[in-house]
Symmetry: C2
Subunit: 190 residues, 2 copies
């Protein structure tokens, strides 16, 4: 069966393992095997635990045909850095890239919640004078267009999910699209 | 001459073009050609400007042998998402990966500046109950270990740079290491 890497800050939730179980179940219903970073047991008390996690995640990505990245804003106006790195890694390897974001607001609107934003000489800037991307996209253009050109366009709900960390409707849409693109649609029914 | 992709939120600075010029000059002194996202003129008034930027950056990355990623914290406790995506993309393609961060603080300490962090059941968590990575690393482990295993360890100054956006000492260290690894060291002298 086709394997798909499930990237996201879900691993930082208190119920991270349970979320992974639910995601893998949805994948199975669509004929896919979901690989979730916490599937591999890493001893967090060892000195090189972080290196072990890296190696394990990289091995899973190399094994998978596709990635579904949870790009819901994490600890700031944009996506989790680890997830973004993994999306780039998979795009670089020519794998199918999918992603979702449970907050449909454009990036510039989200930045406004964290800092003052104003227009200066035609540029939209934050209080540090740094440009705020203002293309109406959900996040940094590199991720959004990576999805457009290396897979399927970002999936967002019409309204922000009531529980942004546990609502898996947009995730399931990605799984359905991945199954369609990878030719496994319906395989889970057999 | 060997080409190297210069990734970073430098492009969001008011003097973005000037920084790119200085970075390219440093590369030239070490026998390398620095490719900087703003080298390609994109008409920002067109409807598909962001797609044009994406295509142009991706083409530069494919052309380059290596990446130097500026991972200095941007609009939050961690690195700029576009830069992180690009680091992943280059790692995925097996290119030489280098990076620097002009703030030497561990990630968990930086998170403390933005939100309250406390220990709960052994996990370090923020006010949303999300785990804060606490491996003593400078940023998310995927980026830090990507540098360790696909290039050279992250370069940080001993003390935070007085001007984190314009101090290019750590950048130059990366260029010197890249030139050594790519066999171009000294070529710029000829």
């Amino acid at each position: 069966m086709t394997k798909i890497y499930l990237a996201g800050p879900d691993v930082f939730l208190p119920d991270a393992v349970e979320i992974g179980r639910r995601k893998a179940e949805i994948c199975a219903r669509h004929g896919l095997i979901g690989l979730y970073p916490l599937d591999n047991a890493i001893d967090l008390t060892t000195r090189d635990a972080s290196l072990g996690i890296f190696r394990s995640n990289e091995a899973m990505m190399i094994e998978a045909c596709a990635i579904i990245a949870n790009l819901t804003p994490f600890r700031g106006p944009g996506a989790d850095a680890g997830t973004v790195y993994e999306l780039g890694f998979m795009a670089g390897r020519g794998k199918l890239c999918l992603g979702y974001c449970n907050d449909p607001a454009p990036y510039a609107d989200r930045v406004r919640k964290f800092t003052t934003v104003e227009r200066q000489d035609g540029r939209l800037v934050d209080t540090d004078g740094l440009t705020v991307e203002d293309f109406g996209l959900s996040d940094n253009l590199m991720m959004i267009h990576a999805l457009d050109l290396h897979g399927c366009a970002l999936v967002t709900p019409r309204q922000a999910a009531a529980d942004r960390w546990h609502d898996l409707a947009a995730f399931e849409t990605c799984v359905r699209m991945a199954a369609g693109r990878l030719g496994t649609a319906g395989a889970g029914m057999s």
